[in-house]
Amino acid sequence: MRSSPAAGGPDVGRRLTRRPGIGAFAIFFGPLIAFYAVFYFFSVGFLIRTSFQKVSLSFRDATNVGLENYRLLIDDPRFIDAVRNNLVFAGVAIVAAMTIGFFISVALWSGVRGRALLYAVFLLPTLMPIALIAAVFRTMLESRFGSINEFLRGVGLDALAQRWLIDPDLAYGVIMVMFVYLIGLPILYYTSNLSIINTSALESAVLDGANPLRLMSQILFPIMRNTHKTVTLSTVLMSFRAFDIVFFSTGGGPAGRTEITGTYVYNYTTSGIKVGFGSAAAVLVLLVSLIVSAVQLRIYRSAGAQR
């Protein structure tokens, strides 16, 4: 290859980024690690210990039951459903973020009118307590006096005025919509990536003959793969912790239809009698979300290795 002079580049870079000494590492990260270690060991250790016990909230008179809690858990269809619901809601939220969220971000970035207003509309829910949003949704969707149904009846669309939170399937849909509603964070990620993107690749594509649709799907979308990664991971993790969305709207009901792991664990640990069982559930949820994240990272890494 004729361009050998430039080949020195990466080598030089590697030499400059040599690992710092172990001493410096200890000084900078030591206190942090100590703090985290105490926190993790205590909380996770406590959780794991109780997960093998039959114990109430008073934490007295604990009896060791071995893997019994876990066995019961895996046999409980409500728990399996909760995990499945979690994954479904996470999936819906991810798809929404990568389509609607991505599209909105590009629109905001490319300078549509009323940009500041739109930003506020999408970002505000992210800044508000989810509990509040969920409560507002619940009030609005109340079947007799909720503002949504009143409005629908007011304009003569009585047929559309549904029992939103009472019909299990509708309630399920409502929770999905709420997950999608919290699209602000992905939009924030996308727009911040867009603001630093190198636009000449896009201009190049325009000159190459790409129409806006192709520009978005064939150039812009793939270029932003790192942000997709951030968005997916953060959305998955968010969904496993999105206790408040469900708890303050449907409370996991009707009849456990919208139960997610968060509400499931909550119900058992706070009802005061089956704390060990709840702990086992929490440990399993932790495992599941770790596995999901690990699989995701793995997929991204192997996709990254190809380039």
Partner: protein
Amino acid sequence: MPSLALEGLTKSYDGATEAVSKVTLTVADGEFLVLLGPSGCGKSTLLRMIAGLETVTSGELSIDGRSVANVHPRDRDIAMVFQNYALYPHMTVRKNLAYPLKLGGVPKSERNARVEQTAALLEIDSELERRPGSLSGGQRQRVAMGRALVREPSVFLMDEPLSNLDARLRMQMRSEISQIQRRLAITTVYVTHDQVEAMTMADRVVVMNKGRVQQIGEPTEVYEHPANLFVAGFIGSPPMNFFGARCAGGVVTVAGREIAPAGTLEADSAGSVTGVEAVVGVRPEQIQFGAAGPDELAMAGKVAAVETLGAETLCHVQVDLPGVTVEAGEVTQGDAGANSLLVRTPGNRSDLSGQDAELRVAVGSLHVFDPSTGKTVVSRHGTPRDEPRGSEAENRRGLEDSQT
């Protein structure tokens, strides 16, 4: 027929200042035109207007005789190479090259053939399956060129394509780009702020400053007959020497010696703020050591400093001529007292350091400029120019040339 014609092309980003101002020029079919100027002079803006990436504030733009004012960039049949290469990071080199063809609806087999052909031309055929991230700067540069060339556009635009490469590679790519351009006879507009690139690659150079065309001409013409102080000072390295001269009775005199008829000069310069009557310019290589002959101007001085460059030596010689300060084509300071001339002489002359020296300059190699307008009054070879060689006159000539 000109391949590309610009008529009074103007761009203003903010409505007040003009980044590009009334640019009129034509590029002949297969010509290599270089836009040269200091940073911020509007070169990129002009190029981007041609590409359609920037809207035109006023003026006309046509490609192959067709006005493209309302033509979308993708329908202008132009390709552009960007300074940072602008490759598609998620596609292999092969896919990068094929992308414009794919969008153009070229069938797959032909697409492949053309990609292979272009890759061979640019010697990147062994990198086809790699992604841009793993290529060296020089290879990326070639891929960017390849992607632009592969669809055989009618106009090829390049915006400082070599500025991210190291000096050696730049030199090599310079000649390669020239060769490829000649071989394919593709109409090219090339932006640079590097005058070496301009001088070595261009068929014609467009020198720009502050959004305006200063001069259009072949490299040697721009070098030998700069149209004004700006071009004279910008082109050439080391730069041209300037000093003040008197202008009385219709004659320009330096150190008591008449050197040229003043032409239009006297009338204009009366109101000059700096008090300089005429500015004389001479290139460092036109000054020689030794006693002056009949057609030469004699100057006595002292060699203050010497820079030896191996094959040649640059001498800073203090002479008793009125100094003038010229910045970006304008005389900013008048009689600055003692003056230092830069003399470029072959061989190693470190022996001259600190010596008294006699200098001689052929009168015919002196340029005379009007200090108030900056225009050239007398150019090298002693020919007073009867028409101002500013943009408009030159452009008119360019138009006629290419129409015949």
